[in-house]
Symmetry: C2
Subunit: 502 residues, 2 copies
Amino acid sequence: MSVKENNEVEQWGIFEVAIEGSAAGNPFLDNTFTATFSQQHRAIEVAGFYDGEGIYRVRFMPDTTGRWSYRTDSNLAELSGQEGTFEVKPAGRGNHGPVRVANTYHFAYADGTSYKQIGTTCYAWAHQGDALEEQTLATLKTAPFNKMRMCVFPKHYAFNENEPEYYPFPLLAKGSSKWTGNWDTVKGIEGWRFDFDHFDPAFFRHLEQRVGDLLALGIEADLILFHPYDRWGFSTMSAEQDDRYLRYIVARLSAYRNVWWSMANEYDLMPQKSLADWDRFFRVVLESDPYQHLRSIHNCRGFYDHSKPWVTHQSIQHSDLALTTKWREDYKKPVVVDECCYEGDIWQFWGNITPQEMVLRFWEGTARGGYVGHGDTFYDPNDVIWWAKGGVLKGVSAPRLAFLRKVLEDGPVEGLEPQTGIVRGMRPIVVGKAHDYYMVYFGNHQPAVMQLNLPSDEKYRAEVLDTWEMTVTRLDEDYSGAVKIAIPVVKPYQALVLRRLA
Amino acid sequence: MSVKENNEVEQWGIFEVAIEGSAAGNPFLDNTFTATFSQQHRAIEVAGFYDGEGIYRVRFMPDTTGRWSYRTDSNLAELSGQEGTFEVKPAGRGNHGPVRVANTYHFAYADGTSYKQIGTTCYAWAHQGDALEEQTLATLKTAPFNKMRMCVFPKHYAFNENEPEYYPFPLLAKGSSKWTGNWDTVKGIEGWRFDFDHFDPAFFRHLEQRVGDLLALGIEADLILFHPYDRWGFSTMSAEQDDRYLRYIVARLSAYRNVWWSMANEYDLMPQKSLADWDRFFRVVLESDPYQHLRSIHNCRGFYDHSKPWVTHQSIQHSDLALTTKWREDYKKPVVVDECCYEGDIWQFWGNITPQEMVLRFWEGTARGGYVGHGDTFYDPNDVIWWAKGGVLKGVSAPRLAFLRKVLEDGPVEGLEPQTGIVRGMRPIVVGKAHDYYMVYFGNHQPAVMQLNLPSDEKYRAEVLDTWEMTVTRLDEDYSGAVKIAIPVVKPYQALVLRRLA
């Protein structure tokens, strides 16, 4: 029985049932294993999975407190008809449940706590071995990020030439009749072909450990299910194998409350998949996930149609954050610009913007009612670059993003919505909550004066934020109605925040 | 006879004939006065103009050296049949003739010298009285600008409340039967109505003086013929009055070799004019100007159709210089982004970008094969803001633009054309002359390494330009073929220039 099975679990925690069963044949393909979890009128059927060595598991994330019961079902007699009960206690400190879409364009945890996304990207951090992975976790512990974009599959790309410690599938025995094509020699290993009809549970246990590590740090794991950066064949499996992989990973990981599903990174760089494939992947995940974790798909150039009903939010690659306004209007879903270029100094132009520009893009996306993602891509003698492998941050934007996160967490819980009519002039970027909170972001502009039309019967306190120096300067006066506000210092990267007093 | 009439003038100088004639009736409307200037097989008919006090003038800018003759014609006997000859000497130092379009996307003076446009804007500088106007000229003397955008008519706008010293038209006598509407009181002057059927020559003589002052400084005068910022009625004359004004100013000023004609500033903010009016204005100017000075029209939001044959170049307002590439392709004419926001600190967002951003926009437009314009809009206790009134520059971008101008003047005379295939990567901005000169502009990017594919049988020297610090660092090595070039310092606002050695 699993270490995680006990008779008590907290709300949005993981309750697990593990049962020994036959390992004959191919248990991944041949055997079914599910459990129905019940409380009062509710009955939720959850798929289990084979975890190797004759162990079958099923995991459940209860969303209500109180007594729950379960009953298993399987084609194998020994896995079928097992019953039990368990008690769900209130969520512990720091456990707010999974993140959901809230107020159309924003996010909140299941308990209603608002979630202000400050994401980062370490695509292949969980494929680097314990020493580096633990360094990454240590970095994250004091970093501002509350979301990590990461690939399930290992990554083959510039600066990413090393082999991972684990693979999701076992290697085929050389000469196996399951493979009739050529046997390649890759990185010195002859006959490099994976058996896509079996999973390697060790790979997934390791992935779960890292997702759990993020959970402990309060970080959402935006799991990228497919990507084009592949030398192992994981991007060119058959449709049946793709779908089986999706069901397997959803069965294993959906009980982790911090999981988000990203169908792909740069789906449009994968000619081996059609749009119908992506639609099907969304449907498979949607049908398999009892908890309906957030679902999206990330582009390189052209967008997938975010208006499709299974897309919960927009995961965008684009360097022009001014378009956030348009994307909100186009799709009426939260905008997360996960890639808008990264702070760094590598030769690739997507990976060498200045820290000032990285911070500016976060603020511009924010001040247009969206959310933005970070990356750190500085040359490293050992090719350990945060954006792919984790390690340490070499850039200086992170503390500024911590400042932004604090500003957001001190702002309206509902999220920042575009505001019009408050600031005189055509181009200011204004966001907030009407009659409560207004934020004007100046970006590369440096006005010495702002002319505002605040509601005349309301009084506001004014703060000038230096988004680069991370300072908040409260202005001496409070304001009401049509006012001119002098900005004390003429410089870029400032914002003006108005908070209602009365 | 005019002071300017003598028997000798230099090529592209101004030869003028002045004759006394009847001042009876309304000489502006009633009398015609032209002269035909002849040399060998050529005969050029040029319109003259009434300059007040019984003096009629006709001006001619000869474009070839040698002996020319003229003969006048008029409905008045005393202005008709006057003949003379004069000698055109070679152009003097600094006189390269008028600026023309060259190589589709670029400019050159008539003598073939290339012209690298670094423009500025002082809309109403010539309406501020001698003290301030002379200060403006003193500033221009050491500034990098070789083009001035300026309005013919005075300007009514924020920070522009003062009355000009001269008006283009005389005031109507109160109670005149020529005006049947209301008599307004404007700025304390009762019965403020202009007589659009007469010109005030003093106004135009003053304007000519200032255009001549710019000519002496080597600065092109981009004369804005109409604009919406009006409290005097100059934007709402009748079609007949508009056309008469255009013919009058062309007759007076087209012999100044540094004149460019801008039909309007923000033509699309003038609902009183239709697109057909703008087409007609172009045609009137085109038909009246014997020298075919450059012609354009400046937008606020939507563009006039720059593909129309009478448009010589694009005069654009837009803040996204990345679109320069598209505008070149769309219209196949030179792109001059005359307004991309101004360095300053006023509350209007078009007038408060940082100097870094101003310089960045110049470089981005340049590095995409276009030209850019400057403005300086800092608060002033007396509302003397460079962008409208001239005076002194308060910003710090100008020396950086001088550096850019020097870089351009040290580059290919033909102008910089977009180059592909030279730099590895998707986003670098590369411009130059194939097999001779390549410039890669980094902008807000800070690569530590560039990967280039130079022609393999050619050798290039490499310079790193810091466009903000105004330094040029020659790299130790010369380069050929596929190379990695280390950029010594990781910082923004740099460019890499490769000049062919062999």
